[in-house]
């Protein structure tokens, strides 16, 4: 037991002791355990290795991999009877089991003297399966007459999942978040990885005096890293506690942190100066903790960057998109005023003036898109485009292709586009539309009733 506790050097002893108290091979197992806690806190890892070491008949299943109850049952049975899928048995399961009845029939053949533990990871998925699946696993011992226990590991509390009755025998355990100290200890372990990353970056950026710089990196003391982590966690922990993301972000930041040291501009022990260097980086890192998008530089450098628009669309598709945006964000009543040449004089009324004094949240561009029909879309399209173009199939087919690109969506009548009942709305934002408008020389804000 000591060994296990030690592998997770963080202060999870309490919870591990508790689990060990429940899961002992030689005693009667509890009906079921329900362990919940947020992701990235080591639930699965700890419980899985704990089970593997204490219980000989431990079956570990991940619900995400089992998209249907059939697969779930079969996987569990394969585990219980130690059946390995192979070419020899044509990858067929130990026994085919389409429903719960088949499952229990198969369980009859178990050795009753043995005790079994089934760990079901991502158990929140069970709630989405058939209604009876979750109760079955919560009361498996009672239903099968075996010394069997289900350990459900989930990120959701059991109350959040659909069938909430029949939970009497279930012991639910909350898996706590890591404290700052624990995170620090975990991350301290990754010092070598961080070093390796810095070295890798060195090789790719500055090949001339790699060996010298690598020596500097190698000579870094763990306290240097600890100082860095203190700084890092002080800033980032406000927004993120997921160890996985923290590690990713810290890796990039550490490389930045080391730069002045490698340059020789700052002494390795001058924590204050180093902090001043890294403060900005950390702040920006906080904003994009999980967007780690790497660019394959080779391709981008080759192409002319000015040519690389984010989104290139054919000329008329651009106009169609603009027209769709206008149709979504303008009142249909205003169309006449906006797009017709002789729209007549508008009389000012007190009401209008009052309405003009709208506060920001009444702006229709911020209220979200409204739906419009195809006729209106084309009417606006023809009004804003200067050229004369025929209504032909190529033009019509732009609409489905814009829908496919998710720039437009059908709100209603998707199946009867032909009779003009279909209503669409534009998903593109104002920024994108203004950008597109600029590229074709069309002033979008002039045609929006908000800005008039």
């Amino acid at each position: 037991m000591q060994v296990i506790s030690h592998t997770f050097e963080t202060s999870r002893h309490e919870i591990i002791d508790r689990l060990l108290g429940y899961l002992r091979e030689d005693t009667a197992l509890p009906q079921s355990l329900f362990i919940y806690g947020s992701s990235g806190t080591g639930k699965t890892k700890i419980i899985a290795s704990l089970l593997r070491q204490t219980i000989p008949n431990a079956i570990i299943v991940n619900c995400i991999e089992c998209c249907s109850s059939k697969v779930l049952f079969e996987t569990i049975l394969n585990g219980i009877f130690n059946h390995k899928l192979s070419a020899a048995n044509q990858y067929s399961p130990y026994v085919r089991c389409t429903n719960a009845r088949d499952f229990f029939d198969a369980l009859q053949h178990c050795d009753t003297s043995q005790s079994y533990v089934i760990m079901i990871d991502a158990a929140e998925k069970l709630g989405d399966m058939d209604k009876n699946i979750l109760p079955i696993f919560l009361r498996l011992q009672e239903l099968s007459d075996l010394n069997i226990c289900c350990v459900l590991v989930s990120t959701l509390h059991i109350q959040m999942m659909t069938p909430t009755d029949g939970l009497e025998g279930t012991i639910s355990i909350y898996w706590p978040q890591y404290s700052k100290k624990e995170i620090l200890t975990i991350m301290m372990d990754k010092f070598e990885d961080h070093q390796a990353f810095v070295k890798k970056k060195l090789v790719s950026t500055n090949p001339s005096n790699v060996s010298d710089l690598e020596a500097i990196v190698d000579s870094m003391h763990i306290t240097f890293f600890e100082n860095y982590l203190h700084l890092f966690l002080n800033v980032t922990l406000q927004s993120c506690r997921n160890v996985r993301e923290l590690l990713l972000t810290s890796r990039d930041c550490f490389q930045k942190y080391c730069e002045p040291v490698l340059n020789g501009s700052v002494d390795i022990n001058d924590v204050q100066k180093l902090y001043r260097n890294i403060a900005e980086v950390l702040k920006s890192a906080m904003k994009k903790t999980y967007q780690s998008i790497e660019d394959s530089n080779e391709t981008t450098s080759e192409l002319d960057t000015s040519r690389m628009q984010q989104l290139e669309l054919p000329f008329y598709a651009k106009y169609l998109l603009i027209a769709a945006f206008l149709a979504s964000h303008n009142d249909a009543k205003l169309d006449k005023r906006l797009y017709m040449k002789n729209h007549g004089k508008q009389r000012k009324r007190v009401q209008d003036i009052k309405a003009k004094a709208v506060v920001n949240e009444k702006l229709s561009t911020q209220l979200g898109p409204k739906s419009f029909n195809l006729d209106r879309l084309f009417a606006i399209f023809y009004a804003i485009i200067d050229e004369k173009i025929n209504m032909n199939c190529n033009l019509m087919s732009q609409i489905p292709s814009l829908v496919r690109l998710k720039l437009l969506t059908y709100v209603a009548g998707e199946n009867n586009v032909m009779d003009g009942n279909a209503r669409l709305q534009c998903n593109a934002g104002l920024d994108l539309i203004i950008k597109i408008g600029k590229s074709v020389g069309f002033n979008v804000s002039q045609h929006l009733c908000d800005f008039m």
């Binding site: 990858y91 984010q310 598709a317 199939c393 087919s397 292709s401």
Partner: protein, 889 residues
Amino acid sequence: MQEAPTIENYRDIDNHLSSFIKKGDNLAVLLDYDGTLAPLAEHPSLTVMEPESEAAIKELATHPNVFLAVISGRAVGDVKNKVGIENITYAGNHGLDIAFANGSMFHYEVSDELKSNFTKMVDELEEEVATRGGWVENKIASLSYHYRGVPEELHDELSSDATAIIHSYGYIPSQAHLAIEAKPPVQWNKGEAALSILKEEFGDEWHAHVKAVFAGDDTTDEDAMKALKGKGKTFRVSALPSIKTYADFRVPSTETGCFIFKNGTKRFPSKRKHSILDVNESQPWYRQYEEVKRLIDSEVEIIQSATCKKIKENLKQFVESSRDRWCLNDLPTAVILTGINQGDHYQFFNSLNNEISENAFVAVIQGRNCSNLKSAINTIICGLTASYVSQNDEELSTDDVSIRRSESNIQVLKSWYLETFGSNGPSLVVVISDFELFREDVLTELIQLLVTINDDLPMVLVLGVATDISILERTLPYYVMNKLQLCKFQSSPSKQSLEKILNDIIVSPNVSVHLSGNVLNFLTDIFLYFDFSINSFLKSYQFCVMEHYQQGNEFSLCTSTYEKCLEKIKDLKHEDIEEIRSLPSFRRYVESLTNPAEIIDILEKDKYFRKNLEPLLKNVYAYFQRFHCFSRMLFTMLQNLPRNVIAKQYRDVYVLCSTKHIFRNQNFCELWQLLTVLSKDELLLVLSNSVDTLNNYKKKFCFDDAIGKETQSLIDEVIKKLVHYSSQISKAELTTESSKRNTPVKLGKDYKEELKNKMMEQASTSKSSTDLRKHIDITLTYIKGQLTKYLVPFSEAPTLNELLVFDDVKSVRQHIIGAPRAATHAALQNPQLYLQAFNIIHQDDPDSQASEVQPEIQARFVRAVAEMQFLGYIKSSKRKTDHVTRLTW
């Protein structure tokens, strides 16, 4: 009379007639002309047979087992001229006159009284009703009064007048298509005529020897159908499905009729067995087209694979390095920004399988195959195992990795992988080729799943994203996104790929069919304005090429090189040569000849013509070679000029030069002026660039044949000149500098002398600068001369340019751009029925005059609505039983 079964296609006729016509039977085919062989036209003299009908008819006429007769309401001579086939039987005036194939004639004798009445009747009709667009067609024994051109509101009035007049002279009026026909009051009609023809040809017991087939479209043809009822098979051409007829079958239109005849001939035993397509395959133009098409396809493939090569290599590197990444077990994900046309990229993704690596297996999935998670998993597993099999096909057959589709799940994949490769095997690459087309929930679950199994198996995910990378964040939830390790790749924009294809294939000198400026503009406009799709662009281009060759066998002379073209000359037949002779540019050439004997020789003697063809072809091929060469040079010269809007791409220059004399184009002349005011350095750069272009051209496109050598020497000469001029220009600059150096800059004592010196100096510099100007002028004039000489627009290109240039924008537009409005228009205009139906709806909407509706109108209305609904123009709105919505624009 009754309704007849409809014949829509060949299968129908096979079903109906297989029992009637047997192998080796003799067949008598009797046909009406107007409305059956040829579609109706505004005026009888304007009717022409469809080319297919004509071909089919000719084939029938020459067939030994088939007897062919045309029975028409026209005069015999008229119908003979229209059909234009000798040695078949013609019956005119509804059978009153018959001209047999053997030359004998038959006239039905009418009484003298009727004959004299006839002329009077013609006169009166001419006077009374032949106004406001109506006219009388005199067919000697009978006549027709046509009121097609008369305004619709007068139809009833005029036709009833005409009927009355005809009655008054003792003739029998009968209704035809917007015409009244007057026949003598005799018991003789098309039916009698048909029978008499058959008796004359095959004897009284004709129906024992021969199977008769008759087709017609008119009420007058009903007589023949009635007469042949039970003895032969008859067809009525009519668009109305409910028409009452004596005929055995109804054919909806003349096209179908032709189709039936054409395929009908196929079943005759002694006939050569080929359809229209077989004929084409053996013809020279088709062979040439195939060759050109293959060439283009292969070149396109080369270009496309070259553009994809870079990104493929990067991707390969990414996949290979994905294993030794950092400690965290994130799913390595490559995001490829493909640009909006996913259709163009399926091929790219599918080819990844071979390209990425030997050490990885690839499964490509598309949104349309993955409506739920289970099917997505199935597709992935099948893809991966198939990829495994295809890479090891020597040792393995598919049975070895037989994972049943119904059985496949992730557990199976895991155990298969671990069993086959152990824990450290090749990467498994899952390619999601169209991110936007997936359902969001499926995508989320799928990627979550891939992340999970990434713990055990080395997975790599490749996403094809059409819009931009922010769609990932909008689609995938946080708990999925944070487990992906993203790397962005950008595929080359489709505009760039198009330019490459244009420059290297479509407007290159190697291509055989040279597109005219209009066509090229049209095609690129579709691309730029409408769809951005390379695939559809290439399809349209292929259509142009096909259209070009389809014009005739003489177009097989259109090849990529002169040498190949010469081989084709011997395949030309007499008709092809006649076609060439009728080309406008050839006409001009003949007119320019002075020797009358030569003209006669070239127009009459094919052998002489063939001999003469070679120099002409050489000339025109050389023209195109030089045209491409100099337009490329011109493009290099203009490319970097400031304020250049008309020649940004090479294709712009190409279009400019091919449509008009460039020096007559005002925009171009303005641009040319800019060249003259360039500084010396800039001009020298322009010149050296042009020389480079010429050299490149020489290396790339001038082959070792007669034309190639000629062009080479021409290019060499131009290069020599250009080098010479540029050296002179640079020298001129040197003299300026040296004169500057010599001038004293110190202030002298004598002011006057100083001034004088300065004047001298100025004079010398200005002289040297004029010297430079002069050189520049000479150079540019030389270039201009060369350009005007060789950049002649296609329309004025040497003789026979029609064979190499495709300039039929109209047909391309018609075929490529679908216009629903126009189609609806045509559909509504052509069969009068639909217009009528619309009128009825408009006028007789039951709601508007609900008080009293005549039952006939009500019935017609209901039928018209039902028909239009059937045709898809309107649809029930479900609001009230009789409310409909329109479906067309």
